[in-house]
């Protein structure tokens, strides 16, 4: 068994890279096939979001690479982890012309990372956390 850090898929799409690019990088496109609504500030460092109405979930993204019409990449929070978990995965779409269509590859990497302190905590028997936080709150209230 090995922990996967990276997921990769390649699909052949019967539409030219320009069309695929628009579907990947516009609010209209992302809100049609990926989420139910979306917004995007299409520049490296720009923010973007997609909302899934039924699930009541909104994904916040940070645009990382914009090289029209070849590479589009963003980072986002890992779905299912607590909101305050700092881990983010990197998602990169690469578009290659393939005949009249496009060969689209998506890679998502960073699943095997750990928050800076989690690795240490997992091994050294450190038992900080809520007990300590609550102790600090009690001390703070006592002092007030």
């Amino acid at each position: 068994m090995a922990f996967p850090d990276r997921i990769e898929r390649t699909v052949e799409i019967a539409h030219p890279p320009g069309k695929v690019w628009a579907a990947l990088t516009t609010a209209e496109g992302l809100g049609a096939w990926f989420g139910n609504e979306a917004a995007i500030d299409l520049r490296p460092g720009g923010s973007a979001w997609m909302r899934w109405v039924e699930e009541g979930y909104t994904a916040q993204m940070r645009v990382e690479r914009v090289e029209e019409p070849v590479v589009f990449a963003f980072t986002w929070h890992i779905f299912g982890l607590p909101e305050d978990d700092p881990r983010r995965t990197y998602v990169e779409f690469t578009l290659e012309p393939a005949g009249a269509g496009t060969r689209l590859t998506v890679t998502e990497s960073g699943f095997a990372q750990l928050p800076d302190d989690a690795y240490r905590k997992a091994y050294d028997g450190n038992t900080d956390g809520w007990a300590k936080e609550l102790g600090e709150l009690a001390a703070y209230l006592d002092a007030a």
């Binding site: 922990f3 496109g29 699943f111 997992a122 028997g125 038992t127």
Partner: protein
């Protein structure tokens, strides 16, 4: 990822494979640190069985023993190994096949429906 992380995750999944241990970990997550006696009062499991499972969980580093009131040992959930296990679940829970299928379907549909501006132009031409 270092092999130790897999060992940590393996212990989490082994612990979670047993319904009694799942119940104990869930009780500690919900209610905070507790003694074996506390847990026996809350769960339909004997105190002896709980103590046996707690010892196993402590050995795996999933709970930690600490002094409680009246010289009883209290057990606290350690979240760090769970966070290590989460990264494995995150990769397995990620689904790209459905969105990519939806992307292809979206492009097929939009290709069949010309943009409205083109429709207006066509209509204008015929008028």
């Amino acid at each position: 990822m270092p092999p130790e992380a897999e060992a940590v995750a393996g212990q989490v999944f082994t612990a979670l494979a047993d319904p009694t241990r799942r119940a104990i970990l869930a009780a500690l997550a919900v209610g905070g640190p507790a003694t074996a006696t506390d847990l026996a009062g809350r769960l339909p499991i004997t105190r002896q069985a709980i103590a046996k499972h707690l010892a196993l969980l402590a050995g795996a580093g999933l709970v930690t023993a600490e002094p409680g009131e009246r010289r009883r040992v209290r057990y606290r959930l350690r979240s760090a190994p769970m966070q290590v296990a989460q990264q494995f679940l995150a990769a397995l829970a990620r689904d790209w096949d459905s969105p990519l299928g939806a992307l292809t379907g979206h492009l097929d549909r939009t290709a069949r429906e010309p943009p409205t501006t083109e429709l207006h132009q066509t209509r204008g031409h015929h008028d």
